[in-house]
């Protein structure tokens, strides 16, 4: 191996990398919050709504699960502004890479979250719902006070796993030149002529964050096992 590593360039670049990390974290937090909310609605529609609506929700989920995320990002980045311009009648309307990325991530990830939440709700025994109804609760009240709290415990590990996936997926916004952590590392690496060091460094950072998530999942699973 003849490559001479020079890690000195990383430290002065840290503030810029931190800005990139901020973008990444915003994408993760917003994607997670909105993705889980939308996923929850979709899951409830798939289980409890009348058949045509449930089918529609299922179609949505299958549609986004069969498409590469990059293609969804392109849809939102290149085509959504055109559609919005036509709807609003404002020919100068622009959306920007950040909002396009958020919309794409939320739409795509909600499909994956939906399947996890659906499995979680189905894992709660049906007698629970019946018991709730027997004491006079409506379906929504049963969900809110009886089923979801139990389902949440079962599906938390899977939800965190999916969110780790979301963190990994956010790096794909590179394709619309949004400066997330990976983008920032790439730029700094190019500027300094130290692509090797910067890409290795970014791999290490992602690995550390994801490992923390995995450790949390393992801890929760152990705790859940003990509880039963």
């Amino acid at each position: 191996m003849n490559y001479e590593f020079d890690w000195g360039g990383i430290v002065p670049a840290l503030p810029y990398l931190a800005q990139g990390m901020q973008t990444t974290l915003i994408l993760v937090v917003v994607g997670m919050t909105l993705g889980i909310s939308l996923g929850c609605v979709l899951a409830i529609l798939r289980i409890f709504a009348p058949k045509p609506i449930a089918k529609l929700a299922a179609g949505y989920v299958n549609f986004f699960r069969s498409m590469p995320l990059i293609l969804t990002i392109f849809w939102m980045f290149f085509l959504m502004p055109i559609v919005l311009r036509a709807i609003t009648g404002n020919p100068y309307l622009s959306v920007g890479a950040m909002y396009s990325a958020i919309v794409a991530l939320v739409l795509a990830e909600s499909a994956y979250y939906c399947e996890i939440i659906r499995a979680g709700i189905n894992s709660v025994r049906s007698g629970q719902m019946a018991a709730g109804k027997a004491i006079g609760m409506t379906t929504l009240q049963c969900l809110r006070w009886v089923v979801l709290p139990q389902a949440l415990k079962n599906m938390t590990p899977a939800l965190i796993n999916q969110s780790i996936g979301l963190l990994k997926d956010t790096s794909l916004v590179y394709v619309i030149s949004l400066n997330d952590f990976l983008g920032a590392a790439g730029q700094m690496g190019l500027r300094n002529g130290q692509l090797v060091e910067f890409y290795l460094f970014s791999a290490a950072v992602y690995l550390v964050i994801c490992s923390a998530g995995v450790a949390l999942v393992n801890h929760l699973q152990k705790k859940n096992k003990q509880a039963f």
Binding site: I70, L71, I82, D169, L172, L200, Y206, V214
Partner: protein
């Protein structure tokens, strides 16, 4: 909406002079398919071996395969792709690096993506195979040993046939992931289906047609794979055996 739809755009010659737009799109499909099929086959073999190592009696094998799976599952695909494409040639001995850099650029990109997708998917397949192997009752391995089978025979004839039947549905979704992940190839300039549709949208000025075409192609292929795998699951199922919670 004053967008001029024109689906005949795929039968018009591309401004790059590379033939019709439809042909460009078809080229993209071929790249996507060859990337995902090649990586999938390699990952299936390597993933099976890694999965066996994950539950082996040898602590060194168990430990090293666990580290491999952890590292490759917990870094973004794009980062791994950049490591193989930009970083690896710098770290290899100079002559090797030069050889890679002087390669036909398309082949260089293709091989980098195949390497990346293979190693990334191997980690996922290994986890499935491990789950499958762990869910088989311990008596099976003992019985295989008792009738004189070695490590190879035990896995080949007793454990793996059962493990694969159990995890076949999850392997289907793993294959879908390779297929979708192959779109990352456009980040290093390989024009697979997504990249090609983007290029066509720019050259032809018909972004909707080209992205809708790509979306439909992805959906069709996904659908065909799901149908094929359902059939395979049905064909492989052993009467009386439970597979993934579904009694046959």
């Amino acid at each position: 909406m004053n967008y001029s739809w024109d689906w005949s755009v795929f039968f018009k010659p591309a401004v790059t002079g590379e033939g019709l737009y439809g042909v460009l799109l078809f080229d993209g499909v071929l790249w996507t398919l060859s990337l995902s099929l090649l990586s999938w086959c390699l990952a299936l073999v390597l993933g099976t071996l890694t999965g066996i190592a994950r539950v082996s009696d040898n602590p060194l094998m168990r430990w090293s395969s666990a580290v491999y799976v952890h590292c490759f599952r917990n870094t973004p695909l794009l980062v791994q792709l950049f490591l193989w494409y930009f970083v690896l040639p710098e770290l290899l001995p100079v002559q090797w690096g030069d050889y890679i850099k002087q390669m036909n650029p398309t082949w260089n990109q293709f091989l980098s993506v195949v390497l990346c997708l293979t190693l990334y998917t191997t980690a996922g397949v290994a986890e499935q195979v491990r789950t499958g192997l762990e869910s088989i009752a311990g008596g099976q391995a003992n019985a295989a040993k008792a009738i004189g089978l070695g490590v190879w025979g035990t896995h080949r004839f007793v454990l793996l046939p059962q493990a694969f039947r159990i995890v076949l549905p999850s392997l289907t979704s793993d294959f879908m992931n390779v297929f979708k992940n192959s779109a990352a190839a456009l980040a290093i300039g390989l024009m697979e289906l997504t990249g090609q549709s983007r290029q066509i949208s720019e050259f032809s000025g018909h972004p909707f047609e080209s992205f809708i075409a790509a979306t439909l192609i992805y959906m069709t292929i996904t659908y065909l794979v799901v149908v094929f795998m359902r059939r395979l699951e049905h064909k492989m199922s052993v009467p009386g055996q439970m597979t993934a919670g579904v009694a046959h």
